[in-house]
């Protein structure tokens, strides 16, 4: 590994460095503010390095990782999400009785896992990345074990995630093994291998299927979504935010890279299965959110539905054949950015409110009655997030959904589009229901809240910033589109 490769790898090195620095720091000083500050600065530096090196060409670092514009753009997004997750965690942690500092180490490790996954073009690094991400998340999901009433559900969420993640990893690993048995190499462009196939095609088909199933679990595609609501509900709000945006985006980014490298005609075989999963995700995700009374569960089902929406573009991309130059891959990219922004915004508001009263996180939606009058700015930001998730024009969600429709129409996926429309219509109901509850006249039994909220100004900056970004991307999406095109062009 020479200096050029080392420099190219800099964003990942910085993220990894952050976790080591934090570990050493905590050994000497336990200071929450300092820990959070170091994390944020480190992640910011990593993100800026990643953005700065865009356009530096494709650099293969060891056989495992490739640093191209695709990696850099999505790493920047991934690290940005982690930054937001640590930012929003500060207020949340400050209000809790938990030991706070180790959370940031785990977050930095998860971010590193995500970046490795995005950068991997080898099954080994893919597995390292995905496991690094998941193992960190097990601990993060179950982080609030001392949190009083809700500790049971937190622990339950963590354990469930760990076991089921294990099951899915076994699928993933077995799939990789079958592919290796067929192709004889472990790079993701295995079909280009000179050795050629000696075993029957069946190895490849079953192997790819199992690989996709492993990823489908991470992406909560129906029917591999069962863990989602339980884990989302159990995890602390900032972790849920990270889980819903960061973890999903890293996996989706790898999926795009894998599709392009392996050649879409191989995946053709999976089209029927993918279509079924897309339809089920869109319908079931929305249907099960319909009468949901816990906001975090509701957002879990909503994320299932949104993953389903993104599958429409994914299927369109596979049908096109020429993925990297197509509008479908672009649609996935743009939707990922929009979805990450909206989800983070929703969870940032949720974390902030949970710091005031943990009932906001664990309790019924009715808790939010009259929020508009108690916390007008928080409620407004939540409106923006929900309107974005609905796909209202002038928010990022509209641009994303518009792109998805465009990709679907391009490939004439009429069934999927009808389901997408029906799903969005169903979605309207439960998103608007939450907004309606927030607009209700303040009731008498307004929940008791902390008198002096901790560091609310700090998280207020993050929330306002995310809110403005959701609107900005909705009004002027060109920079995002340009970035995504740049990223795809390097594949």
């Amino acid at each position: 590994m020479d200096l050029i490769q080392l420099l190219a790898l800099m964003p990942l090195l910085i993220v990894g460095g952050v976790s080591i620095v934090l570990m050493l720091l905590i050994a000497f000083v336990r200071n929450h503010a300092l820990t959070c500050f170091v994390t944020c600065i480190g992640l910011l530096a990593a993100m800026l390095t990643s953005i700065n090196t865009i356009g530096d060409g494709i650099i293969q670092v060891t056989p495992l990782l490739v640093m191209d514009d695709f990696t850099r753009v999505f790493c920047a997004l991934m690290i940005g999400i982690s930054l937001a997750a640590s930012w929003m965690a500060y207020t949340y942690m400050e209000a809790s009785d938990e030991i706070r500092e180790e959370y940031y180490i785990l977050l930095a490790l998860a971010a590193l896992g995500g970046c490795v996954l995005i950068a991997s073009n080898h099954f080994a690094s893919m597995f390292i990345g995905i496991e690094l991400l998941s193992v960190s998340l097990f601990a993060m999901v179950g982080y609030m074990v001392h949190g009083g009433k809700s500790s049971d559900i937190t622990l339950e969420g963590g354990v469930k995630y760990m076991i089921m993640s294990g099951v899915s990893s076994s699928f993933l690993l077995f799939g990789v093994a079958l592919i290796y048995a067929y192709a004889g190499i472990l790079t993701i462009d295995f079909l280009a291998a000179p050795a050629g196939a000696t075993l029957s095609q069946g190895y490849l088909i079953v192997g790819t299927s199992m690989l996709i199933i492993g990823l489908a679990f991470k992406l909560s595609w129906v029917p591999f979504h069962m863990w989602t609501p339980d884990v989302y509900q159990g995890a602390p709000a900032p972790v849920t935010g990270f889980l819903a945006s960061g973890a999903k985006i890293a996996v989706f980014a790898f999926l795009i890279r894998f599709l392009i490298a392996s050649g879409p005609d191989r995946i053709d075989l999976l089209l029927a299965g993918l279509t079924i999963m897309a339809v089920l995700s869109m319908l079931l995700g929305n249907l099960m959110a319909l009468l949901q009374s816990n906001l975090k569960r509701l957002l879990a089902y909503s994320s299932v539905a949104h993953m389903g929406y993104m599958m429409v573009a994914l299927i369109a991309a596979i049908k096109t054949g020429n993925i990297s130059e197509d509008v479908a891959a672009e649609a996935i990219g743009v939707y990922m950015v929009a979805y990450a922004l909206m989800t983070l915004l929703a969870f940032a508001v949720l974390s902030r409110l949970a710091a005031l009263n943990s009932e906001y996180e664990t309790g019924n939606i009715e808790m939010y009655g009259g929020l508009l009058y108690r916390h007008p700015w928080m409620a407004t930001c939540m409106f923006v997030a929900f309107l974005g998730l609905i796909g209202m024009p002038l928010t990022a969600g509209f641009i994303g959904k518009y792109y998805l429709m465009l990709a679907g129409v391009d490939q004439q996926l009429w069934t999927l589009l009808w389901v997408l429309v029906a799903g969005s219509a169903l979605g309207l109901y439960y998103y608007l229901k939450v907004i309606l509850v927030m607009c209700k006249e303040s009731q008498d039994d307004a929940p008791a809240e902390l008198e002096t909220p901790v560091a609310s100004g700090f998280s207020g900056v993050l929330i306002s910033g995310l809110c403005l970004m959701v609107l900005y991307v909705g009004i002027y999406p060109t920079p995002v589109i340009d970035w995504i095109q740049l990223a795809l062009a390097s594949l």
């Binding site: 469930k160 299927s209 199933i213 029917p223 319909l290 009468l291």
Partner: protein
């Protein structure tokens, strides 16, 4: 000409100021704005008229108009509509009627309504009405005209229901709105057809294109004319859409004078006159116009004879007079029709306003049985009412005579049947007008001559006197509309026809005088119980309300009642039920049990792999 836009803008500005003040303005200021805006519009009309005549004197073709384009309004495909005004003799005549008579009525109303708590609201509506009515007559295309058409309908609705606290008034307003809406719908469909057939909605273009594209007597011009006629019939309260007008008398009396006598109800006449080249292409439509006019004037005349409410008598008389205008249109006496429109606007406004004065003096009593012998106590209203009645009866040399006589002659030319009907209508007019006059101002009612009080406010009498003077001399005016409309052919009916036309009203007066004052020929009053049924039938306006109630209102209400739970709603409801059932079904799978989750994953994995292998 460039200032033409001022005329509708001024009342609209008045409306805007009044509506924005939202009741905070003092009465004095509201009066200045409300009356002043219309008065200024009248001055602007005079100025425009001088310009128009000056242009005409400089060799402008007679009958040609001026178009003043303000801005593009609607541009969609081949449809290009401008917000533009059109001025020719016809619209100029209407402008004079609307702003002139309108300003006088506004002045009168500023005194009449003085004690009303909603003074500002009244003038807000009135100014909006004048603006909409001016838009209607100045519109260069039919869509803009439709805007004004709907605008006056809205204001009529608002003003009939002005005293909304009495549910009866609200009902009357609703009835007027719904019934005219039937006509408006026909009008709108007519517009669509015109656009489909001719590809234009500019009035002047249509009038040029229609004779070129439609064959004489073809189905299309008949259909279009009939639809436009439907709109006209609704607005002008002609049979079969006449039932709303008597109930519309629930509004304040100045409203009845302005909207339901002088201006809005004549919009139908204006529409047909404006579109006469289209109507001329269809002899059937022309006969329909004439017949509707004739039937209405007779039906309304008979009904007026049996009314006891002073305003309802006048309302039926308005219907009947507009019937004359329709008859004139139908027999191609275009200019006579518009002439009668103008004189009628003046003398009927006079009659209504005088009736308003009487009602005020009688402490809001409208029943003529309780009046009588008022001529000594109310000298000014008496003389004004007398002049107005003379015009209505069409006694020479009042303006009513000059405008009605040509209609009768033209009717003779077209078909003697029309003449017989019209001249009998004139006789009826004389009888019911005499009856009204005598019952109000002469004789003594059972309870003795009622006590009256002098209404306050100097604004009440000048408009009456001016209108009375105009009623007498309006017959001498040279109507600018005559240049626009085709000239009626020279009338040469036999002498006896002319003499009968003049004499029959006099006979009517004589009979009325004998019956209602001298008490002779009491059988003609039909007061014996044997005539009860007939009297009721006539008094109810020939049972049209009853008929519509059975044919339309009741079935509709029954249908609405039967469909209370809205059949169409079942579909969305089904979606709701289906979705929530799905929710419950799928939620059951989300049972929180790890073993079930993992089993589902395994099963799903098997399914996905088999799909990949075996497809």
């Amino acid at each position: 000409m460039n200032l033409l836009w001022l005329i509708p803008t001024l009342p609209f500005l008045g409306f805007t100021i009044l509506v924005l003040s939202s009741g905070r303005m003092s009465r004095e200021r509201a009066r200045i704005v409300g009356v002043g805006s219309v008065a200024l519009a009248f001055l602007a009309t005079i100025y425009i008229a001088t310009q128009y005549y000056a242009a005409a004197a400089h060799g402008l073709d007679h009958g040609a108009g001026f178009t003043v384009s303000l801005w593009p309004w609607i541009t969609a495909g081949s449809l290009n509509l401008n917000f533009s005004l059109y001025l020719d003799g016809l619209s100029l005549s209407m402008l004079f009627v609307i702003t002139g008579v309108g300003a006088l009525i506004h002045l009168y109303a500023s005194g009449y309504m003085w004690d009303d708590p909603d003074y500002t609201r009244f003038f807000t509506y009135m100014n909006l009405f004048v603006a909409a009515m001016l838009m209607l007559v100045l519109a260069d295309n039919l869509v803009l005209m439709f805007l004004g058409w709907e605008g006056v309908g809205l204001c009529s609705f608002l003003l009939i229901g002005f005293w909304y606290k009495d549910p009866k008034n609200g009902y009357a307003a609703r009835k007027a709105f719904v019934v005219t809406r039937a006509g408006d719908t026909a009008f709108a469909i007519g517009l669509f057809l015109l656009f489909r057939e001719l590809g234009s909605l500019e009035i002047q273009e249509i009038l040029h294109l229609a004779p070129e594209n439609f064959e004489m007597g073809g189905n299309m011009p008949t259909l279009i004319s009939a639809l436009l006629l439907g709109g006209a019939v609704g607005k002008s309260a002609q049979i079969p859409l006449q039932t709303w007008l008597p109930d519309a008398m629930a509004g304040p009396t100045p409203v009845s004078a302005l909207i339901h006598a002088a201006t809005m109800v004549t919009a139908g006449v204006y529409l047909i006159a404006r579109c006469h080249p289209v109507f001329l292409l269809s002899p059937i439509a022309m006969t329909m116009v004439a017949s509707i006019g004739l039937i209405t004037l007779l039906v309304a005349g008979f009904t007026a004879l049996n009314q006891w409410d002073i305003k309802r008598v006048l309302a039926y008389s308005t219907m009947s007079q507009i019937g004359y205008m329709f008859l004139a249109l139908g027999v191609e006496a275009w200019d006579s029709s518009i002439f009668h429109l103008m004189t009628h606007a003046i003398f009927k406004a006079l009659l209504f306003l005088t009736a308003g004065s009487i009602i005020l003096a009688m402490h809001h009593e409208q029943d003529i049985r309780k009046m009588g012998g008022l001529r000594k106590q109310l000298p000014v209203p008496f003389w004004c009412f007398l002049i107005g009645s003379a015009c209505l009866i069409a006694l020479p040399p009042t303006s009513g005579f000059w405008s009605k006589e040509p209609i009768l002659l033209a009717a003779w030319e077209a078909d003697p049947i029309f003449w017989y009907g019209a001249v009998f209508g004139a006789f009826l007019t004389a009888v019911y007008t005499t009856r009204l006059m005598l019952l109000v101002f002469f004789g003594t009612p059972e309870g003795g001559i009622p006590k009256t009080h002098e209404p306050k406010g100097w604004q009440l009498h000048p408009p009456l006197i001016i209108l009375a003077g105009l009623s007498l001399v309006a017959g001498l005016f040279n109507l600018p509309a005559a240049d626009v409309l085709p000239h009626a052919h020279e009338h040469h009916p036999p002498l006896w026809v002319e003499i009968t036309g003049i004499l029959l009203p006099v006979v009517g007066i004589f009979i009325g005088w004998q019956v209602f004052l001298k008490g002779r020929w009491q059988a003609l009053r039909m007061e014996s119980p044997a005539f009860d049924g007939l009297r009721k039938f006539l008094a109810s306006g020939w049972g049209f309300d009853w008929l519509y109630d059975i044919l339309l209102v009741k079935p509709f209400m029954a249908l609405a009642k039967a469909n209370r739970n809205d059949i169409v709603d079942l579909v969305p409801k089904a979606v709701v039920v289906a979705s929530s059932q799905c929710y419950y079904f799928f939620s059951r799978g989300q049972n929180g049990q790890l073993r079930f989750y993992v089993a589902t994953m395994a099963a799903a994995a098997i399914m996905i792999i088999s799909l990949a292998l075996f497809t």
